[in-house]
Amino acid sequence: MTLTKDAAQAAKVASNKQSEFNTRLRASFQQLLAFASLLALVLFFSVASSNFYQAANLSNILLSTVVTGLLALGTTFVIITGGIDLSIGTGMTLCSVMTAVFMTQLGMPMIVGVLCGVLFGALMGGINGFLVAFLKIPSFIATLAMMMVAAGLALVISGTKPIYTNEVAGFQKIFALGKSIPGLVIPNAVFILFAAAIVAGLLLSKTILGRYTYSIGSNMQATALSGVNVTKWTVLIYTVAGCFTGLAGVIATARLNSAQPAGGAGLELQAIAAVVIGGTSLAGGKGSIIGTVIGALIMSVLTNGLSIMSIPQEWQQVAVGVVILLAVYLDMMRRKKATN
């Protein structure tokens, strides 16, 4: 060795610093580029139709993102653990029914009703978590079963009739239009979505819960052998995910002024698509909230834009499929470039 040990050490520290900086730079570059597909879509539609890039329409897009977006936030957690949640669609419907029941039939004040609606989502999530973690039922099956159970219960509890919430004071405001940013009329629901996204992002990146979410998804057995109570944490993670489903149910109720007992099925696939388009891996261990938000926005920009262009609906479906493929493919290419 020509270098003394100390000098070598110093050089190593320096080069560590350098490469760490590079890693960071690359990461933020990636983050920046993640918007690429979204921006490309927005640009395309803006050129294709003059009605697209209008304050009112942008607000439409945001609004139509709220419910799927919230569902996608919750399911991001589940997917990062390596699981999947098919119950969020009809589960949201059940939460919506329960929220309405709490506020009308049980006469709870608005705030309490909203809280209970969210908690009911947490309960459903907890049950999913219990099935997955304690009974070791594969999450696909556990949540598929819950999907059916929730759909049935929503009909049973509501008596297959919508439950109207007109009388609940202030409830509609949750969804209503806000005037916070002049020019752009952004409904409160959109703020709720972004607030929820920030909470989800912090949970995932800054807390133990988030760290375990990634660890379990990356290697459950190794996490368990490292002394982490994987069972307990899995239930907790699913419970947290359930809160978002509950919130989505509450917001859907506020928007429609009623709980609609049927439907919701199919939303889960949209939400999962948003998550995966956002770069979260279904194999678990990888993913981010910002990605999910972008994914959800891509989905709704796409639906809105094609519809604005008055493309026949059957072709719209084809186009959405193709664009999803392209978006994911380009995103993968980009990632590959960024890591090479």
């Binding site: 439409n60 009909l155 009739k161 609906q313």
Partner: protein
């Protein structure tokens, strides 16, 4: 609920086009009312979605396996149901069609409304309210189910022949889901800022249109006509958000279906066509007892 034979009650199997939505629930209600009245047992089933033709076939098969004395059917596709109809004929089980006609001579009676005529009625009012001109759009509930296509076509055809200056600029389908219909209607309004009117082809679609207009802050600027009833739609009409809507008589359809089935089992003569009618209702007549009887909350 089983053992229709065991307790000796007459058993009628009803297979509808759906069960989750209000319309079908009202049909079921009417059927149950008649069942009580005539002291018969019924079962009521329908597929999850109006596109699930296979599921309806399975339900029809299951219904036949329960050895009913009569079968009532709202076929999603009558040709697809041909086999079961033949089976029923072979077993001498009378078949009553409801909601939409069955394209076959096996059903001894059909209790339905003419969706096309009803839609034309909605179109007529729309044309009047718009003074026979302007751009309008339709939010449909199904691109393929007959109730969806008839309510679209009846409306479109009427305007074509009677109000050619009204231009239908866009038709979008949203599965009768309120939230989806809202998003679709809003997008249409954005794409066509001069839109003068909108038509929703069922309860979900109509409420979606109302929501969209509210959310877009265009209350009062569009003429909205709808279909079916339900609390939200009725409120919208009372509040003047919506010009009016056409309602069929789902409770009546259910009731007449069971009544006809009972008659057929007894060997009595049944009317071949039982028209349960449709009504235009708006702010002015919504409280009339005749009309109110055909509305459901």
């Amino acid at each position: 609920a089983e053992a229709p034979v065991a307790n000796g009650k007459t058993y009628i199997a009803i297979v509808s086009k759906g069960f989750q939505h209000q319309f079908w629930q009202s049909v079921k209600q009417g059927a149950e009312k008649a069942a009580k009245e005539f002291d018969v047992e019924i079962s009521f089933e329908g597929p999850d979605k109006e596109t699930n033709v296979q599921q309806q076939m399975d339900q029809l098969n299951n219904a036949m396996a329960k050895n009913p004395q009569a079968l009532a059917l709202a076929a999603l596709d009558s040709k697809a149901a041909e086999g079961v109809l033949q089976d029923a004929k072979g077993k001498n089980i009378p078949v009553i069609a409801f909601d939409s006609g069955v394209d076959s001579d096996i059903p001894i009676a059909t209790a339905s409304t003419d969706n096309k005529a009803a839609a034309a009625e909605a179109a007529k009012h729309m044309a009047e309210l718009l003074g026979n001109k302007g751009e309008i759009a339709i939010v449909g509930h199904s691109q393929t189910a007959t109730s969806g296509t008839d309510r679209r076509d009846g409306f479109v055809d009427y305007l074509k022949t009677n109000a050619p200056d009204i231009k239908i600029v866009d038709i979008q389908y949203a599965d009768g889901d309120q939230a989806k219909s809202t998003d679709a209607a809003k997008t249409i309004m954005t794409a066509y800022p001069n839109l003068a009117g909108m038509y929703g082809t069922n309860e979900g679609a109509a409420i979606g249109v109302v929501n969209a207009v509210k959310e877009a802050g265009k209350t009062g600027k569009l003429v909205i006509v709808g279909f079916d009833s339900g609390k939200a739609q009725m409120d919208a009409i009372k509040d003047g958000l919506m010009a009016g809507a056409v309602t069929q008589n789902p409770v009546g359809i259910g009731y007449e279906t069971v009544k006809a089935a009972v008659a057929a089992i007894k060997g009595e003569k049944v009317e071949k066509v039982i028209d349960t009618g449709f009504y235009w209702y708006d702010k002015t007549n919504i409280a009339d007892p005749d009309i109110a009887a055909n509305l459901y909350e």
